[in-house]
Symmetry: C4
Subunit: 203 residues, 4 copies
């Protein structure tokens, strides 16, 4: 379908540019991080396994279904595809998911069980546009190589708790999302800015 291809090209390009920006900042070291964008209620475009997120090419993306299975035989999606799919399945408004490894999110996620952000103007960029004076909690999940188990823990926490705008995995990184790639990227920028402030503040 021609229009499907155009949509894929456009979403891939937005993720290629996000990856180049994040790599200049040092937020996707080595082959760390992974990105995805929703194509439809049934399909997602996601980075392939093992590619460098700072130098993405059009061929580094593949189409997967809502269980994370690649449509094209012989291709392998990102190791952490299940964490992306948990978000798309739970919330139909989510259009893009970005995962980055940064110094600030790695150091803080190894030190703390949850991170409370308050008093930052940039909180307004997060889902629901919280008042900067409000307290916004970012949960930290323990790292787990069993992605199915980890995504189930994230999903359960989303059922039990007030909404959270992003989450951390200890020693591993940030997951953030938005209606589209641009919004998800702005939220990554805003969250990482606040986390870096927290790191400097010595918590």
């Amino acid at each position: 379908m021609e229009s499907g291809t155009l949509l894929q090209d456009s979403l891939a390009q937005a993720m290629i540019e996000a990856g180049a920006l994040f790599h200049r900042r040092g937020w996707v070291p080595a082959t760390g991080g992974n990105f995805s964008a929703r194509l439809s209620s049934q399909q997602v475009l996601i980075t392939a396994s093992g590619v460098h997120k700072g130098e993405l090419k059009r061929d580094d993306f593949l189409v997967a279904d809502m269980d994370g299975q690649p449509l094209e035989a012989g291709r392998k999606s990102s190791y952490e595809t299940g964490l992306h799919m948990q978000l798309y399945r739970r919330d139909p408004t989510i259009g893009a998911v970005l995962h980055v490894h940064t110094i600030a999110n790695t150091v803080l996620s190894r030190r703390l069980d949850r991170i409370e952000l308050s008093g930052y103007e940039l909180l307004k960029l997060l889902p629901g546009a919280p008042d900067p004076a409000a307290r916004v909690e970012i949960p930290v999940f323990g790292n787990d190589q069993d992605i199915a188990r980890l995504s189930a823990r994230v999903d359960a926490h989303m059922s039990e708790r007030a909404k959270f705008p992003a989450y951390l995995i200890a020693g591993h990184g940030l997951y953030a999302w938005g209606d589209n790639v641009a919004q998800a990227r702005h939220r990554v920028e805003a969250l990482e800015f606040m986390l870096e402030c927290e790191l400097w503040s010595g918590r």
Copy 2:
């Protein structure tokens, strides 16, 4: 008016370049920050609401009057337009206002009520070219989502106090200004350099 358009293009270009530089430094995360330049005693060119300041295009600017009202129907100027207008109304020599969010200005503005800078050669870049041995005070205002109230507080402080070369809003960022975009940008560079030194010194 042709010359008016040329002037607008030239000022927009200077702000586009300032934004690209600031974004490389991490000083305008997400859609944070906003920039303006004076067109005349009655008009200002200012960034539109919600655009990314690191990737500005010519269309991301609009013309507003001295009350911050866009001349063109249906457009929306930056949320913080009132803070820019307070400066242009008070001081006719101000030709440009730049607002940035940085790690240093955010961390320090959350920690301190005012910042005193002394012993920096770069103080000479600030209005009045203070001697590097002098003490220059940068006030910190509490953050406030009511921009009219916040700009009135800034204005009152300017009436009561000795001149200050820039100000901070807690958890929010720096406002600096100059005769033109280049001078305002140099002052942002100088101020942020000194604030980053203060951050390192205070650990």
Copy 3:
């Protein structure tokens, strides 16, 4: 041999790009650092002595034998060639060796005798793909201007100890390697990320 020349060009290009990236990060200050890639069981392509690793040109590389002797008369290979050759001689699977000077590896290597990394997702990038929960030790060797003596110490440590994925020289830098330039570069990115996290954690 045409194919030999093409291989050399390709390996030189990969190292030129790695050097440009590392220099943007500040990881190869001045003429610090050096890079090499294996051409065959008998030959290695290595950076010449005294060149800037952030601005490498094709002519800045030379071919050396397994004792580090340049094949072309009158050329001088990198001062630390012996440390590269120790690795190629010991392990025939090593295809590339990259040495960088960074703030994190320099500060930590002056402070510690060995660095233990644990709880980082990026550990999976290292040789043998360790579980992130495992403890991976990076040895620190004292700096020594006698490169033959230093490389003998590294070699002896490799004989006595469990495998280590990289090593540091105190006040001097990191040596890392891989099957090819891309893998070695990814490991440098992963190791420096974790060392920078350690630096932030240790303050």
Copy 4:
């Protein structure tokens, strides 16, 4: 003189590139810093007053005599020209002088009277190629707006003391030099690397 013009162009280009690199690192904020290169025993090419060192153009340089007087009427050389000339007059082997403002050199120069560097491989880049185990002292002079008086103090210290490879001015920056622009630039890179390590080491 044609050859003189070609030499000037070549030296200007080397300084333009050094300035662009330094600005990307944040080492020449605002209009801070200044650069020069020797044209002959009687003349020096030096940056003009008040220009941004990260965006230098060919016209931003002027020729001055050994007293720092511009040869061309109506032009004004850098405010700190006298500090450059003191070096060229004292040591005929000096071919280039680079002055930068960095976070590390500013913070450390405000805190310490002198900085002792030892145990860094990069010490070998400095004049005389000191052994990395040696102790190399970088003096810190108090800042002074009277450049003639300040340069006389530097000159007296050079007469009284063992040679030093560079010096700092408190709250102001680093002066370093070399046989040519490339060597001076490499020394700036090496010195700033070691100063940043010292800053992280908490001294």
